[in-house]
Assembly symmetry: C2
Homo-oligomer: 193 residues x 2
């Protein structure tokens, strides 16, 4: 029972370049318009044919997952940094603001958290996001800085809500800075005391 010896040879130079271009095009287009953008359009923007997109990602879901991993890696970094803040609440608050910014700048991210549960779960766990969230919350509770009833599972829910509401038709009624106020309400409400 030796580990399956998957033949990992380096990608040919052009292939590596194209893969990167596809990812960047997908990030840009999906970030702006959501996961609904078509594979053809992504290919065009990347300057390759659709066939090439499918050579690198077996299907759309795989492409979305690759992007999700990227985002969760970033979120994990934000969480890790927050854990290093000497002031638990300040760390938490900063984390929430930065994470919200990531969501607001990338429309597809919230959509993944809404509809692609598997991709999200996998990406989040890969970077230890759930545990980091839990540690951050627990640390705040220990310091008496956050309400006792806050559940670490609330964080992704709230981020998904803020992110989606922002790019929604309803969100446009609240104006450009709507999401900032929204987030302030939530933060103020989570704070202890």
């Amino acid at each position: 029972m030796s580990p399956t010896p998957v033949d990992i040879r380096p990608l040919r130079a052009d292939a590596a370049r194209n893969r990167a271009r596809v990812l960047e095009a997908a990030r840009e287009l999906m970030g702006a318009r959501g996961v609904e953008v078509g594979m053809e359009e992504i290919a065009r923007q990347a300057g390759v044919g659709v066939g090439t997109v499918y050579r690198h990602f077996p299907n759309k879901e795989a492409l979305i997952s690759a992007l999700a991993e990227d985002r969760f890696a970033r979120i994990a970094a934000v969480l890790t940094e927050a854990l290093e803040d000497p002031d638990p609440w300040h760390g938490f608050e900063t984390m929430m603001r930065r994470t919200a910014e990531i969501h607001v700048a990338d429309r597809a991210l919230s959509e993944v958290m809404r509809n692609h549960g598997d991709a999200m779960q996998a990406a989040a766990e890969k970077y230890g996001v759930p545990e980091l969230n839990e540690r951050l919350i627990e640390r705040c509770k220990a310091a008496g800085a956050i309400r006792e009833e806050v559940h670490h599972g609330d964080i992704p829910m709230i981020m998904c809500g803020v992110g989606i509401a922002t790019c929604s038709a309803a969100g446009r009624l609240a104006g450009e800075d709507g999401w900032k106020r929204y987030l302030e309400y939530v933060l103020e409400g989570m704070r202890a005391g």
Copy 2:
């Protein structure tokens, strides 16, 4: 230039019955699974053929609009009642809880507020929802019960966020009552003082 004399004759009895059945089927299915349910399925559940659905609603969007009107009428009623509460803040808080419940029970509603801007705007305005929201907020501000920076356009944004986050994959992580905590945070954060 007489007003166009649209021939409004009463629907034949069977037609009226079928129209109601289609609406009810759509309400039930879309409420549970979102606007993505197919027209064929709605027809089946209503016990009619697809052709009949299209006789009553020229296209899917029209059917969605009809449902949206229904919901906004309900929301308008909740707002009106809230305005009659002698305690401005209590009225506001109650309105938020009831409205959130309507959203949580009807998955399609938040989706309309997210993606079908036109249908939403039309339905909301038809029942005076924007003005009611504004009056409610202003009344709270006058009583010093709500933060000054709260904008009446924040309400639909927040409801859309809570509603969508609730039925999202991320929302499931927060458990059954996740949305209630979410709403509490927001309310607490909007309150003055």
